[in-house]
């Protein structure tokens, strides 16, 4: 029986990014047009979820990109007027922004295997590893549309209470549960 295996790799030349379709054109276009540029310019790291199909003899028959996430540094800033700042009070903390996370239509809606949450776990593990090496103790996510807020909340993210939809999780929390 043919089957498939999955792995996460850093974006590299040779992958067909144009075939990826998560159902959201802006996310498809970002991967196809801006993903490589973001990696080259150093503004973000992009990780691909790659599906490798295998035949009955377990020989690989093909592979395709079925998901991706992008991570970049962010500074979490206390949202107050500068005049309220007291001397010596911390006003900002470095962290990591999970800027994009998208899954191909072919993997969406699988309530048993839950590929979205599988990919989110990989993204969080990647950020934990980055924090272990380079600091940054907060994970921020940009749900982009209000419909995703509940999904991120169900996976441990809390509201920043800021002017946009961004949510956060301490790296310490992710580490405690996922490592």
């Amino acid at each position: 029986m043919s089957s498939a295996s999955y792995r996460v790799v850093k974006l590299a030349p040779g992958f067909d990014l144009g075939a990826f379709d998560c159902g959201e054109p802006s996310y498809n276009e970002w991967l196809a047009n801006d993903g490589t540029r973001a990696v080259e310019s150093g503004s973000a790291a992009v990780h691909l979820l790659v599906e490798t199909s295998t035949d009955e003899d377990d020989q690989p028959t093909g592979e395709r990109v079925v998901g991706y996430f992008a991570i970049c540094p962010t500074l979490i800033v206390r949202d107050d007027a500068p005049k309220q700042v007291r001397r010596g009070m911390l006003r900002s903390a470095p962290g990591w922004l999970l800027a994009k996370l998208a899954l191909d239509r072919s993997l969406r809606g699988d309530t048993e295997r839950q590929w979205g949450r599988q990919l989110l776990r990989e993204a969080l593990l990647t950020i934990i590893a980055a924090a272990d090496l380079g600091g940054g103790q907060v994970i921020v996510v940009d749900p982009d549309n209000a419909g995703l807020i509940a999904w991120y909340a169900a996976n441990g993210f809390l509201s920043t209470g800021g002017p946009d939809l961004r949510m956060y999780m301490k790296v310490a929390t992710a580490r405690a549960y996922l490592q």
Binding site: S5, Y6, R78, N155, T160, A176, Y177
Partner: protein
């Protein structure tokens, strides 16, 4: 630092918006110019800052920073951790 204001920003608006701005500025005891300028500057800064800065409510920020190394309780993450591992590294 004193800043010399040499530039103009002009805009057309409707009667209701103009009245709203007038009332709001009066409540804060500032001029309409000062009110609009402050609002516009804040909005512009937020747009420009968007990609690399995350603004956090001050109470949320202070609470987070006071226990940055202490994990929060999360049933969602506990559940996520239990999913079978399907992705190789």
């Amino acid at each position: 630092m004193a800043v010399t204001k040499t530039r103009r920003l002009e805009l057309r608006t409707d009667e209701d918006t103009e009245q709203l701005v007038t009332d709001a500025a009066a409540l804060l005891h500032v001029s309409k110019t000062a009110f609009v300028e402050d609002a516009v500057r804040t909005a512009a800064r937020r747009v420009i800052a968007r990609s690399d800065v995350t603004l956090m409510d001050l109470a949320v920020f202070d609470s987070m920073m006071s226990a940055l190394d202490r994990p929060d309780e999360s049933t969602g993450l506990a559940d996520l951790a239990k999913l079978p591992k399907l992705i190789d590294r």
